[in-house]
Symmetry: C2
Amino acid sequence: MPTSASLNTLTNHQIRLASRPVGLPTRANWSATTEPVQPPAAGGVLVKTLALSLDPAMRGWMNEGKSYIPPVGIGEVMRAGGVGVVVASENPLFAVGDHVSGSLGVQEYMLVPGDQLKRNGLFKIDLRLGGLTEWLNVLGMPGMTGYFGLMDVGLPQVGETLVVSGAAGAVGQTVGQMAKIKGCRVIGIAGGAAKCDWVVNTLGFDTCIDYKAGPDAVRDGLKQHCPDGVDIYFDNVGGDILDQVLARLARGARIIICGAISQYNNTTPVQGPKNYLSLLVNRARMQGIVVFDYADRYHQAVAEMAGYLKDGRMHSKEDVVHGLQTFPEALLKLFAGENFGKLVLQVAES
Amino acid sequence: MPTSASLNTLTNHQIRLASRPVGLPTRANWSATTEPVQPPAAGGVLVKTLALSLDPAMRGWMNEGKSYIPPVGIGEVMRAGGVGVVVASENPLFAVGDHVSGSLGVQEYMLVPGDQLKRNGLFKIDLRLGGLTEWLNVLGMPGMTGYFGLMDVGLPQVGETLVVSGAAGAVGQTVGQMAKIKGCRVIGIAGGAAKCDWVVNTLGFDTCIDYKAGPDAVRDGLKQHCPDGVDIYFDNVGGDILDQVLARLARGARIIICGAISQYNNTTPVQGPKNYLSLLVNRARMQGIVVFDYADRYHQAVAEMAGYLKDGRMHSKEDVVHGLQTFPEALLKLFAGENFGKLVLQVAES
């Protein structure tokens, strides 16, 4: 571990937002900067980034305008959740060597002043409950999103039919596995045979529709596998797939709106669900979720799902890419559907 | 009252669906027929139609395809709810002279066999609780739709801001008045100054936005009158107005999807709400309602609202047009927004 004296010799490499993208982000939207690492003042903590979570939501944070959190400002270090290790601490609640999770940003070191600890969301993680990257997946924000979206908005009942898009992604894998544990019949939607095989054979979904298999694959798959309609749809993608599921709702269905990755890089207006009147015909409900609202209950979900990871009832799959400087290209894997599992950027080994 | 013997001399004029419309229905989509009136068999009731309810939902019933009720078949008498008087009865529960409400159809006489009474929804109405046309409005299907949509899905809280489109229409007037009684601040959206004046000055809404006042009237009006966002939106119209309200939701908002009159005569696909991701940002909910689900509780809503009509806290306004043969043109008033109040077709005086 570096001492305070040696900290001054360290350099912090960072990726900053240089301009707002139109459509898919490019290299030109980012700038690489370096700063000397500063030791923490009283109450503060210095964290060395080990791994960062790359999420579809990042694309939204790059846009101007009001949303559930403010946009990243031009010239600011790109926002990112991550896990790391405390390398210097002036706070009795954090010791050097502690592993932590928080909003670390796309950079090698994050200095969190004492009065920013809560705002940053910094908390200690217990590697006995799950591995480092699992703390960015099932035990992290995606897992919490899937858990509370399913349990609090989806209200799963034994025997119901649940469909989840982005099934092999971070949120999708938690949703489908939790729904199986709660007694639902689970149909995933994912891109490609490899993801579909994994979702069924490793995660235990009842079936998985490969949306890349043809223009009618989703429509035909839903018709085949949901003869009595869809009771719960957990939507990570929006667009045509949302419309296809709307056309097959069961009476009293619940749709959880978690994201719309198909729409985030649009240069035209968002595609609204033209089948939304199915909500009327089927007395169904479409509801949005933002994970931060459940922060007080994260520990419950972590405890429950860490148990399932231990006893083998749940699996957590991460797609790990390496090197801070690969961030701009790594992020694009999400929008091409190229990641297989939760996309994680490993920044340092320890 | 005619006797059984004299019934045979009566002619029943009817309007039948001749073909399925594309876009707005025309005269060519209807046919006029006549049949001799038949006396009821054992258990049955013969009802003389006095007034029929003309509703936007009728447009949906004219389309092929699955919905919350089957479509009207080609050649069938057009489905319509109505109020009438029993002119012959072979059922001890109904006496000649009783006023009733039920699915009478667009015709002068409805013969309801004994085994069809429940399916028809025939029930006696008490003209001490409300006038004949009020039983098609606040005390009828539109009133029940507004009442249960607001109370069961909207969940109004004192001090919340409610917006209702089609504010001067059948459902809208009930929704806004009930929301005022429940302590909400109520903003109507209606077409034209006369409707807006009535909604504010007679019904007691806090304000009303005239959507015909200009292309930005709804956007600007919502911005002005809902500075803290919209807590409840009761949507009767869909289309652009739904999108404008979505753009101004308060956190935790509830949207009741009751109808989408702006879309019913489309010859292109329904316009999906492109701002639906506001549901996510605002942790909001959009839910459909079909009034028939609440049939067991109609009597409660009727009792409550009949009291408000009596004590002057609620008003019921009907726009009455006359003559069975005017049905094809009368229906079109709805889609042009020309009706002022609940549209009723008076078929006979007594």
